[in-house]
Amino acid sequence: MAHAQVLTEADNTRFHLTEDHHPENGTLLGFWIYLMSDCLIFAVLFACYAVLGRNYAAGPSGADLFDLPIVAVNTALLLFSSITYGFAMLSAQAKKVTPTLIWLAITGLFGLGFLSLELYEFHHLIHEGAGPQRSAFLSSFFVLVGTHGLHVTFGIIWLVTLMVQVTQRGLGVEMKRRLMCLSMFWHFLDVIWIGVFSFVYLLGVLK
């Protein structure tokens, strides 16, 4: 019994030491856990779409509505933005401010291109009378894809904020930590998009 107590005390001491020593590991792990909770939101929206996705209410189906070339371009834009963000991270690690800013700007432009195409698609669908109120399929489609689009929007706002901060403060430890968090967020959105284009668009046009 006494032995166990000694061990616990030793553990406590070590625990405190580790905590004081590594603050940023805590940030990144915490951000990762946020991403996992976000993943659950998307899982529920995917489940919703899986259940409702074939209830067309005698309205148009995915095969009638989806324009695969646009989806392919969107996928390419997001994939390119992923690798350019990777280049931004590599430049940041090398402490090169200007290349970091340029790569971040390119990433943001790819993100904006993605958003514009998605908004164009939504506008087109609503204009054709296939808005979210048309059928359960379209409601779940707009919620799922729209939530992803909102995430990309906030990702771009965050990216611009970080670009301003990099110009003002350079690439210190805390800026790298912030860039790392956005990097995880951005790549995570690309992972969600894999599910969207495969499950919603590609499977949606299959008859």
């Binding site: 070590r14 580790t18 020593h21 590594h22 940023e24 590991n25 990144l28 792990l29 990762w32 856990i33 996992m36 993943c39 659950l40 899982a43 529920v44 995917f46 489940a47 919703c48 899986a50 259940v51 996705g53 074939r54 209830n55 067309y56 209410a57 005698a58 695969l68 392919a72 996928t75 390419a76 994939l79 992923s82 690798i83 990777g86 280049f87 991270m89 590599l90 690690q93 430890v173 790298k176 930590r177 790392m180 995880m184 790549h187 995570f188 690309d190 992972v191 894999i194 599910g195 284009f197 495969s198 499950f199 590609l202 499977l203 046009v205 299959l206 008859k207």
Partner: protein, 131 residues
């Protein structure tokens, strides 16, 4: 004793991470990941747009399989996941999340499909069809 040496090793690893920032990739990692992602994206689009496989069911299985592989590729090469990052805690969170995701998806489909077949049998074809 072995636990103590393991802890010491862990602490050392953390110190190393600390120096170079967090876990991050090299140019090679990003390029390999990007090339794999492009291939794994192009194949499903080609399968669907070119009507390559004989039945839609086969195409659907292939598309979902390739998507699963691409998710793993992104996790490894872009998100730099491995069993050691953050002392294993991020992997633990990921595994827990995946379990909940599988329960949510499989459970929803199972329950709703069951309800559908039991309650909506006389409805028109396009209303009761479940993926």
């Amino acid at each position: 004793m072995s636990a103590a040496s393991h802890d010491a090793h862990d602490a050392h690893d953390h110190g190393h991470d600390h120096d170079g920032g967090a876990a991050h990739g090299t140019l090679k990692d990003y390029v390999i990941g990007f090339v794999l992602a492009v291939i794994l994206t192009a194949i499903p689009f080609w399968l669907v747009m070119g009507h390559v496989l004989p039945t839609p069911q086969m195409t659907a299985v292939a598309v979902m399989g390739l998507a699963a592989i691409q998710v793993v590729v992104h996790m490894i090469y872009f998100l730099h996941m491995n069993s050691r990052s953050e002392g294993g805690w991020s992997m633990l969170a990921l595994v827990f999340t995946l379990i909940v995701v599988v329960i949510a998806l499989a459970g929803s489909l199972w329950v709703m499909h069951n309800l559908d077949t039991h309650m909506m049998a006389p409805m028109p074809h396009d209303m009761r069809e479940v993926p």
